[in-house]
Amino acid sequence: MDNAESIVKFEHISVQFPSVLANDDVSLEIKKGEVFALVGENGAGKSTLMKVLYGMNEPVAGKVYIKGELITKYNPSEAIRLGVGMVHQHFMLVPSFTVAENIVMCKEPMKNGIFFDEKGACEIVENLVREYGLKVSPKDRIDRISVGLQQRVEILKTLYRGADILILDEPTAVLTPQETDELFDVIRRIVREKQMTVIIITHKLYEVMAISDRVGVMRRGKLVGVEQTKNVNERILASMMVGREVLLPKLERKKTSGEELINIKSLTVLDNRSLEAVKNLSLSVHAGEIVGIAGIEGNGQSELVEAITGLRQYKSGSITICGKDIKGMTPGKIRDIGVSHIPEDRMTTGVSLSASIEDNLISGKHKAEEFAVKGIHMKRKPIREYAKRLFEEFDIRSSSVEISAGSLSGGNMQKVVLAREISFENPVIIISQPTRGVDIGAMEFIHKLIIDERNKGCAILLVSADLDELFALSDRIVTIYEGRITGEFVNGEIDKSDIGYYMTNASKIDE
């Protein structure tokens, strides 16, 4: 591998975004036929660099060579011509089209030069499937197939366009452990049999160890190191990423047990299309425990959380919190009876991006006598002091409490949400995706905070797409598939790879 020819070469690449230098003098060579992993925290510039290769970003300085050819025009069609294909984190597929239609799009086979040749398209796809061993059925509609299959369609799309350099941006973020394994098999196969070059962007270090030949680590726009994967381990990579030793500490758990604070009985919730997203679900959470919900995204978790917190009305069943039935209550009322909520989407629900940080911190408490005389005249000074106190307590890093929340990084924005919600001192906390898009440093902090609340006796319902997080925090883990609970486990009694079966319909087949 060491002597393989280089297929992509970055020379002193710098990319400037309006307020940040996203790539800072990056030089990197990628060799033909290797799997190269690019790791780094969020905002480290991994995707930015790969989008340079794919022609979506233009560097302010530096040169890119693909197969020895100097890139002069940065646009995706040029990159595609040179054999670069990119599978984005958010798939770019037309949901109402079939698999075949999506794959051949932009380069469709024609009948008589006018009409779309559907049969031809299916044949093309079948040939691709045979050639690369990526099984899909060409006539299925995209919105009816699983995320794992959608990803295959994306990969096939790039292969159909002749790609031999494949960039995968966070490919496993939406996959179950099984689907991840399958993806890795596919990657290994196309590299071995088709001599393809695969670049995988990720922040999951065990995946780097599992799949890559070489790994590049980025931090704050700079490439801080390139290593043979076999010469490093996860700990070394983590400290390279963060710039210091990372010790994800063993979280200390006090033994607690308490009364039942959340009781859900045969709950059915409809989604936006009026389909049943949560079906006949029952669940209970006690004081002093964290119940984790494991499931692939889109299996009713969001609707369940919205129903519990009053953001969505539910169709049938009952939810009792702290002994009160919450049917018909507004989010404000539910908050008053003792529920804090850290929503999955902090940008649209967790904060107001254009409001100042202090305004965000007091939202929901803004009528308290502490901040507003008789609930009317707002007192700026106590509000500011309160915000500054939370700043210190929750280690929120920003130049001032007056700037808008939208200017904060993901981790700091999440800390603002946590600071506000935890300081309500409610006995029940509903948490969704607490560390999505958050860097490792902030993740340590957030995890500790959640455990602290548990040890103080809060009942916590935790929804996360990150299995590692669920295993690190939960006392009990409940799996959800298509709105139904498919399994319930005491943490420690099941392993990570087994739980994947319960997150898919595999468990149903077993029965």
Partner: protein, 362 residues
Amino acid sequence: MKNKKIDWGYFLSLFISVFAALLVGAIIMLITGHDPISAYGETIKGAFGSPRVIGNTLAKSVTLCMTGIATAIGAYAGIFNVGGEGQLYLGGMASAIIGYTCYGLSPVIAIPLAFIAAMAAGAFYAYIPAVLKVKFKVDEVIVTVMMNSIAIYLCSYLANGPLKTSEKGIASGTPAIDPNFRFPSIIPNSSLTTTIFIAAVITILVWYLMRKTSQGFEMKITGQNSRFAFFSGMKSDKSAIWAMIISGAMCGIVGLFEVYATQGRFKPDLSNEFYFDGMLVAMIMRYNPIGIVFMSLFFGAMKVGASAMELNSGVSSELILVIQSIIIFFMAAERGITSTIKSRIAVKKQRMQLNAKLKEEA
């Protein structure tokens, strides 16, 4: 609760926009064979040259400020009230009806009554699109634009038909209101009346509501992100509706001002798109109430000065409209232009640093 949207950078671009617009105006004058310096001189003289014209400028500013603040409070809570013109007409009509039916009554009773009628009419007319928006997600812009036509033509029908005065020599309009009800003039021969004090009080009250109260806070959060407001336990629907009610009531009062201070009766040409002028002022100042007060003065002066300019230097007063539009155009493009300039500067700096670094290495 500092408004982050207006900072020194914004003032700088505003200043540059105004200057550039005046410059374009000057070029047009030069091309058409007029002397821009004397024309602008006449404009300034026409707006501030004598107590009488100062009075007129202030009177114009009062209207702009009231309508501008009315736009701002709606926008603050996330509803764009384009229907102020209709609310203004209905308020004018309602107050005019009180004004002539209560003929002979004590002003102490009649004037408050007129205010209540004008505010109720405007508020009601704003309440309809607000509820439609909040409950049924009907686009308020389309609804209010349509409702403008309905109100204006309805009032025109009333003033030409059922409520038409029997006085001779008046083509259309309601009967005159009791002269005792009219607002007294402050500067002789000018159109400035005591309405300026009422407008000042209302402006301060609305500013206080928007900036200093928790109700205003809820309006602001609702306007910024209504889902977050709902999530935080605020009554976001109620906030939005109240903002529109206040906006409509303010427009109704502007209608009353026109009837009780200027016209003395309701006439079908009560307003010459006064609301839209105020709306522009509010948009340029990004709905900042204090900014709106000052921008109203500037626009008021331009409007009043323009007619003097036309009279004394022969430059058509339409040119001032051109200049106004250019200012608005520049301000609308401001965000894009400044961010482009900023990123260009950043890129340039980056290139220079890199080149220096490369040279060092070499």
